[in-house]
């Protein structure tokens, strides 16, 4: 059974790139997309995804706050933060908010699929 994913990023272009990249793994299915924290929380409540791929900086509500809220409302949903910011403070904040991993965007091709497999325990 495929794993249902919610994409959260304020860039439509990046969401399209990410969606295309995730096609590499047929076990992954993007079920919804949000461009901000508030929308992400609402969509997470509605769809109960297995995984949220979360950007950090998105205007009104940032990724850390959205992660905290989604984890509070849906503890079973796993969250991986994808960001350009290579900052230890953001890493620790993301972990404290309940994110399972923190991946720099340029490292996605090397690390994301492996991380998803490990977090969602998908077997090769």
């Amino acid at each position: 059974m495929s794993k249902r994913i919610l994409l959260v990023d304020n860039s439509k272009q990046f969401r399209a790139n990410l969606k295309r990249f995730l096609r590499i793994d047929p076990d992954l299915e993007v079920i919804a997309e949000a461009q901000g924290g508030e929308e992400a929380c609402a969509l997470a409540d509605e769809h109960k995804p297995d995984l949220v791929l979360m950007d950090l900086k998105m205007g009104a509500m940032d990724g850390i706050e959205a992660t905290r809220r989604i984890k509070n409302a849906n503890p079973q949903t796993q969250i991986i933060v994808l960001t350009v910011y290579d900052e230890d403070l953001y890493r620790s904040d993301a972990a404290a908010a309940g994110a399972a991993d923190y991946i720099l965007k340029e490292e996605i091709p090397d690390n994301l699929l492996r991380s998803i497999k490990s977090i969602l325990s998908i077997k090769d």
Binding site: F14, F21, I24, K57, V84, L89, K105, I108, P109
Partner: protein, 320 residues
């Protein structure tokens, strides 16, 4: 201005001389008139003076009022000129003060505009270029996964490596432009990160003492960060210090920032003229731009202490 003063001076002296001349003529006319009708002794004296050897003396006596008039007029004009010059000097001094104030204000506005511009560029680099590069890396990653041909794989990997290097370069530029965590996390964590990096890169023992219970306005936080950054930069380049302490504290009416090192110190007058002077002037400008003051205490062999005080009253004014 100088020409008109000079001609004014001449004209009053000429008026004085003219009055003197009039008096001289009156003296001559009246004396002759008197000579005709008055006491013969006086007539005798006057005639005595009009004899050939004394004519010059008589003429001098007659013309004496002209000279007096000329000099009195000139003197009066001199005094008047001095008064005008003093008045003009006061005006010029006042104007210079006003211009200096306006220049300071302009510098502060430029400084704030500069910081705003850095913020804007940083945001655009992040939201535009960094995002797009990440997107390109993702698409190349996808192509690598679906294209099996080894030659293509090799080129795509090179493309990925290049794009990743560019993102890393961009990240460094973003951090130089404006510390990424300053706006979201505040001054304390930002300074914490900066001093930690400073210690790691320079092997200088560094301690940060933060005593701030509240966030400061963004304009004040970035200014304090820049001053500490500049001060530590000077420590790294010139101080040859073993240890440095950065302290930020809140008093009842001001925020105090102190950067103290145990390095070789320097002659402050000379220091202001060499390369480190640029950094010191920069710090001063930044402190003043938010209504603060800076005090630099140093001498050769005795380390350096830079103390910046920013009145809390100015907090509300600098929120940009």
């Amino acid at each position: 201005m100088a020409n008109s003063q000079e001609s004014g001076k001449r004209s009053l002296a000429i008026i004085g001389a003219a009055i003197g001349l009039a008096i001289s003529i009156l003296i001559i006319v009246y004396s002759y008139d008197y000579a005709i009708s008055a006491d013969p002794r006086i007539i005798g004296f006057w005639f005595y003076l009009t004899q050939k050897p004394y004519r010059l003396l008589q003429l001098s006596v007659s013309l004496f009022p002209i000279g007096i008039g000329y000099f009195v007029g000139k003197e009066h004009q001199e005094k008047k000129s001095l008064k005008i010059v003093a008045q003009e000097n006061r005006l010029l001094y006042q104007q210079t003060l006003e211009k200096q104030e306006a220049l300071d204000q302009l510098m502060h506005r430029i400084s704030r505009a500069h910081e705003e511009e850095r913020k804007r560029i940083s945001r655009e680099l992040h939201d535009g270029i960094a995002q797009n590069l990440s997107g390109i890396i993702l698409d190349v990653g996808y192509l690598k996964a679906v294209i099996g041909e080894p030659e293509a794989q090799k080129h795509l990997q090179e493309l990925t490596d290049l794009a990743k290097e560019t993102v890393i370069d961009l990240r460094r530029i973003l951090n130089d432009l404006r510390p990424v965590i300053l706006d979201s996390q505040g001054l304390a964590p930002t300074l914490g990160q900066h001093v930690e990096k400073f210690g790691r890169e320079t092997n200088i023992e560094i301690e940060l003492k933060m005593d701030l219970a509240q966030r400061l306005p963004p304009g004040m936080e970035i200014t304090i960060f820049r001053i500490v950054q500049e001060a530590l930069n000077n420590v790294k380049k010139y101080a040859q210090a073993k240890a440095v302490t950065v302290a930020v504290g809140l008093d009842s009416d001001s925020v105090g920032v102190t950067i103290q090192d145990d390095g070789q110190g320097f002659d402050l007058v000379k220091g202001l003229q060499d390369h480190r002077g640029f950094g010191l002037v920069n710090m001063k400008d930044r402190a003043e731009s938010i209504g603060g003051t800076i005090d630099v205490a140093t001498q050769p062999g005795a380390g350096t202490t830079i103390k910046v005080t920013i009145p809390l009253a100015s907090v509300g004014e600098f929120d940009g």
